[in-house]
Symmetry: C2
Subunit: 334 residues, 2 copies
């Protein structure tokens, strides 16, 4: 298979945890998350430390749910949007377990899940905790403008979610919430979008590329999944994705195509094109997708995290924004 | 094994390539690298594009050496020091193959080698190209001062190497240059160093932790290796590592302990505490360690890449610099 890893032994999802900020908690999915924060600063002295603390709490809650003592954890895969992965590194420092830091922008949760899955399926690790986070306040000040400026946001802009998700996988045969069966590694695709406030457009081509690669590799299509869940294309990117899939000759089922970013907020919450951020797909996957699988409301889903690989340096140099998307297939035991 | 992955089938190193800048080419290892650049800008319009082009050339040279068409490449693992991995992302865009972006600061080459090794050993990918780069001019302006300022550097400062290395691994049984037999995943360790010009001190505790973990997991010690090769501790960090290993009760053999950063430049080249950067350990491993293994001058080495997980944000917030170190064991066929 050209881009897809097959987990024949079906890696078990043992536990999951999700934490979101106040605004995310007030959205349509608010009741599904494990924790809705009262205070997005979490009592810390900086937004970066707050994001790290949120990620740490998600990781610890997930371990607690899985009944795994941190000393028995064999791998952490994690990442975020912040320069040099400050939130993830500090979280990993506090956990003190083997740590692989990843950067795939908002594709990081899926990237970590497929690496963690491969490490467990391949027999290299007994278990792995796959986590990712984002925070509105750290991302805005790093990528765009100081919050204090109150800069007006264009209609295509997306709202970086304050959210963290963590998933614990292992290779036990015992009944699992869900099973990780495939991971599809994305290629970097660039349609020469240069507007950092148009990320859905920058990422949609990579998502189309990865969905098609997954379908070709696995001989599956929309009919094999209850939902095809994209990370944070938002309203605009979701529509572009449909066009791109049609162009590629992929038959789509519009009702099965769900975007986490487009689901996280009400339109009245003034988030323009929808939510985004590594934590968006991580938290929604853990809170909604895995929950629906566990309840057997869904039997099989494909989660595609997509990242806009931009930096302030690349933007200032006039470079376009390359996209990348990684996918993981999750299903229930028969 | 607590932190170590065992590659029972011994992943084959099929090809390697290294490119360095002018200053690195004038150092004691200058004659060993595949390419020494005339122009560290490589004809590009920015240092970031130059670093990306250097990494791309190393990747392509490695594929050429391995006789592998890029269309048959099943995985790229890569990373660098620059925000949001701009050099690696643009390299991956140009190659168009499945890409996992990694951030482990200067530990990235070892991190990528152990992930690539696991993907190949586990049967998930037929081959993987593991690459990393750094560039003096991109790193200085991002982490420290604009070059134009001509800021004086303190004696403990290290010189970020302009260098890239790439290694192609596969699972063929045919005779190989060397074999990847183990990967040890590091933990984040922090001895509360806050000086970004004292990276050797920030990283040495993580290196000691990973070396000891590797020895415990594999029941090996210094006597099992021809060389224990650290990435870029430099002169100061190397001495601290020895102290820390002794404190931990690890018996050391000083002559076998080699640091890439401390080997890359002559003292007269005014690099103070030695070289550093993701590209330093990548290029020296590909040019020297794998070459000596191929020539059977060495039979077995342990390469430990170590990263100082700092950012300008964490430094401005007064945070200490956590370190992480990953290791890979390389040996020849009997």
């Amino acid at each position: 298979m050209k881009q897809t890893l097959l987990f024949k032994n079906r890696v078990a999802v043992r536990a999951r945890a999700s934490i979101v900020g106040k605004k995310e908690g007030a959205g349509p999915l608010g009741g599904r998350f494990d924790v809705v924060l009262d205070d997005d600063l979490l009592g810390q002295k900086s937004w970066e430390l707050a994001e790290s603390e949120m990620l740490r709490r998600a990781a610890c809650l997930c371990l607690e749910r899985g009944g795994l003592d941190v000393s028995a954890l064999e791998l952490i895969t994690a990442g975020d949007l912040i320069n040099q992965l400050m939130p993830s590194s500090l979280m990993a420092r506090s956990l003190g377990r083997p740590f692989l830091g990843l950067y795939g922008a908002c594709s990081t949760f899926a990237e970590g899940a497929l690496i963690g899955g491969a490490m467990v399926e391949g027999g290299f690790r007994k278990n792995a905790l796959c986590a990712a986070s984002s925070h509105f306040c750290t991302a805005e000040r790093q990528f765009r403008f100081p919050l204090e400026l109150g800069t007006q946001r264009p209609p295509a802009a997306q709202w970086t979610a304050t959210a963290a998700g963590a998933m614990l996988v292992d290779r036990e045969k015992a009944p699992a919430q869900a099973r990780l069966t495939h991971g599809t590694i994305g290629r970097v695709v660039d349609f020469e979008v240069t507007d950092a406030n148009h990320m859905g457009a920058a990422m949609a081509p990579a998502v189309a590329d990865t969905i098609q690669a997954h379908f070709i590799d696995t001989a599956r299509d929309f009919s094999d999944y209850d939902r095809i869940i994209t990370g944070d294309l938002g309203y605009i990117g979701r529509n572009l994705l449909k066009e791109l899939l049609v162009q590629r000759g992929v038959e789509i089922d519009d009702e099965k195509l769900v975007d986490c970013g487009a689901s996280l907020f009400y339109q009245e919450q003034d988030v323009h094109a929808g939510g985004s951020g590594c934590g968006c797909v991580a938290a929604v996957t853990c809170a909604v997708a895995l929950d629906n699988l566990e309840k057997r409301a869904w039997k099989r889903v494909l989660v595609i995290g997509s990242g806009a690989l931009m930096s302030t340096t690349s933007a200032q140099q006039g470079e376009s924004i390359p996209g990348v998307a990684h996918a993981v297939a999750l299903e229930v035991d028969e």
